[in-house]
């Protein structure tokens, strides 16, 4: 079975009855590994459409979870259950729950290490005091605002205050977490949270793929939230020095915030500063300083000195890039898509109002980025198959546009593989208006193709 991967969370959706025999057919270790390779930092099995499960049925998943968690440092577990199912799982695994349980996928996403999330006000309750604390810390570390109810009574009172909370977290259990370096996005900066002792483990807990993908899609400022770091050893020092050097190729800046050198040699700080890493005492010293943000590259990608241009391979493969886009749009709309004007230049959007965009990067034998720009109404049409209903929900439309551009990336990967060109794709990114897109793309040169389906126009842009 294949997982649905969204926001860094890979979810398998079995249906019907789960016992020892069926669960082995539903999920194999290869299925999970393929999901991890596709940028998932959390692997879950949804129980939403499972009407029956027994201990044997869950056991085969749990065994696989343990293997994969140990190897890849990711969060594993179950989601989408009701209280009856939650109690049944707790009964099966009373004192031995190494996996996590998330009430639903929305709750799970709050705990996903690498999801570009906005801060949410989260009402939180767990009967278990240590779980309440663990959940709250993890939420806080991921950039959210947890409000803890200390008793069921308090929870019942607070839950009635509608519109106060974005999400309610209950019937949720945090098992062994991945211990991956958590990351979140603030504006155009990426914040990684590191804690305790930084040693050789940082090489496996830091998601280098995610970092490279972020560079590929235009992020230029990376902040390590190091308030909780106790000390750093020489292995970690080497790791961060190398990270700084490789990021410098993209003109990216790496900063450390709140790092204390009481138990770390001060010479390490000098070494890191020599590699280009900057140190700040408070997060607000950076985030509230617009001028500094601009200087550090968080407000625009236009600072990139070594502007990269399309190369011969990209031009040769241009029909495949267009094909991947056209075929996806045709598949999603049941309408024939057509190519109109083609031009090589910086991106040029005539009418900027009422348009949204999404992009996906690719890297490997060749690297670059595809950008699709749609009028909102046309984006809705293009996403109808995935949304399934009429909606004015801008967040949902953007979310679905990300899914669409993900399919484009998947198709591109297949088409290029036929030409013996191997690429991986990054997580998709969306832009709620043209101004936010331009922060990343305005000075990039590339191929712009005007496309239509059912006389509706949209824009394709390929750049590096």
């Amino acid at each position: 079975m294949r997982a649905v991967i969204k926001n860094g969370v890979g979810v398998f959706h079995p249906q019907g009855f789960l016992d020892g025999n069926s669960s082995l057919s539903i999920l194999s270790i290869e299925d999970i590994e393929a999901t991890v390779k596709s940028n998932a930092d959390m692997i879950l099995v949804s129980l939403k459409k499972v009407i029956f499960f027994n201990r044997n049925g869950l056991d085969s998943f749990v065994k696989m979870f343990q293997k994969i968690r140990h190897k890849n440092h990711i969060i594993v577990g179950f989601c989408d259950y009701d209280t009856k199912k939650y109690n049944a799982i707790n009964k099966f695994y009373k004192d031995d729950t190494s996996f996590s349980l998330f009430l639903n996928q929305e709750v799970a996403t709050l705990f996903a290490p690498n999801f570009n999330k906005e801060q949410k006000n989260v009402l939180l309750y767990s009967e278990d005091k240590s779980q309440r604390t663990a959940l709250a810390i993890e939420l806080h570390d991921n950039g959210h605002n947890p409000i803890i109810a200390q008793s069921q009574k308090e929870f019942n009172q607070k839950i009635n205050l509608k519109d106060t909370y974005d999400i309610i977290v209950k019937d949720t259990f945090l098992g062994q977490t991945g211990q991956k370096v958590a990351s979140r996005v603030t504006g155009n900066a990426i914040i990684y949270t590191v804690s305790s002792f930084l040693d050789t483990e940082i090489g496996s807990t830091f998601n280098i793929n995610y970092h490279e993908n972020s560079l590929n899609v235009g992020f230029r400022l990376f902040i390590f939230d190091a308030y909780k770091v106790v000390s750093m050893n020489v292995h970690a020092l080497n790791f961060f020095s190398k990270l700084a050097s490789s990021s410098a190729e993209y003109n990216a800046t790496i900063c450390f915030v709140g790092m204390n050198f009481d138990k770390t040699p001060i010479s390490f700080k000098e070494t890191l500063e020599d590699s280009g890493i900057m140190f700040f005492e408070q997060m607000d010293d950076i985030l509230q300083n617009k001028e500094l943000l601009e200087e550090l590259g968080a407000s625009s990608a236009s600072m990139v000195k070594n502007k990269r241009t399309l190369n011969k391979v990209m031009i040769t493969e241009l029909p495949n890039f267009i094909d991947a886009t056209v075929s996806t749009i045709e598949m999603m709309t049941n309408a024939q898509a057509q190519k109109e004007a083609v031009q090589v230049d910086t991106i040029h959007v005539q009418e900027k109002d009422g348009k949204i965009a999404s992009s996906i990067g690719f890297y490997g034998d060749i690297d670059g980025m595809i950008i699709l720009i749609f009028p909102v109404e046309i984006a809705k049409k293009a996403c109808e198959l995935l949304i399934g209903e009429t909606t004015e929900d801008q967040a949902l439309i953007l979310d679905t546009l990300a899914e669409l551009v993900n399919i484009v990336g998947g198709k591109l990967k297949t088409l290029l593989a036929e030409h013996h060109i191997s690429v991986d794709i990054t997580l998709p990114r969306t832009y709620y208006d043209i101004a936010s897109l331009m922060e990343v793309a305005q000075n990039k040169k590339g191929v712009q193709v005007d496309l239509t389906f059912n006389n509706d126009k949209f824009l394709f842009f390929l750049t590096r």
Partner: protein, 270 residues
Amino acid sequence: MRVYILITQEHINFYIEKIPPMPKTLKVTMQLLQESELLKASQIAKTDKALSSYLKELVNKPIYGFKNEVQDIAQIFGILGVIKSQQVVYNYMVSLLSPSQWNFFQLNKTTFYTFQADLSVGWQKILAHLGIKDREFEATITLLPASVIVSEALFCEKKEDITLLKSVKEINLNTILQRLCNQTLFDICETIAKKWDMEAKTIALLHASSGIKPANDPMCNTLGKWMHLFLFYTLSKPIYIEAGLNDFIEFNIDYVEDIYEDFALLMEVA
């Protein structure tokens, strides 16, 4: 320029047009079975070698539970009785639509026939438990595998596209068809059933079993719940999960909630 459209109404119309009407031998066999003329029906059935061979293969599957191999058609009809004999003949008709080579689903002739047998025998057990003896309701179960055949026919060349779609969204073939063409797999099966002159009651139960279109008649609706749950009970077997059948349509848990306990007792789910 290549066109990548996934599925259109024209595709569906073209597919339906290709479905043959019921062959004459089958029509006569069915007619005689309806008149309880088992012997005469078996004599006609014998003249169709493909039908004879299918009947022998199907009823000798372990799930039918015959101790000795049954080779004679008259004997088969005799053991099964009128209603079950009609059911196996309908199964044969559906099998005529199955492709020689499966591409979308990991099925073959043997596993597909096993699927038909599993559904038919299990459904007989359910109807017996509910105390229902009804020719039309018995026949409905034979149409469920037709939805698998229709899916294979419509999506066999789009496997990669569907895989990509399913990697970004939890979506099934029935939903894709409904959103793109405003028709479900069950609507197409209805057209097939009508082409074969199957009864309205059979078709109503088919729709109720989809989990998305409850029947007006309460009895039909209850049976639809049982059939929907039984379908997913069957699709949870490893052989069908590995064939890719577990999520080709959506399982509606809420729809079957009120009959689940009774079902679990009957099927000894533990």
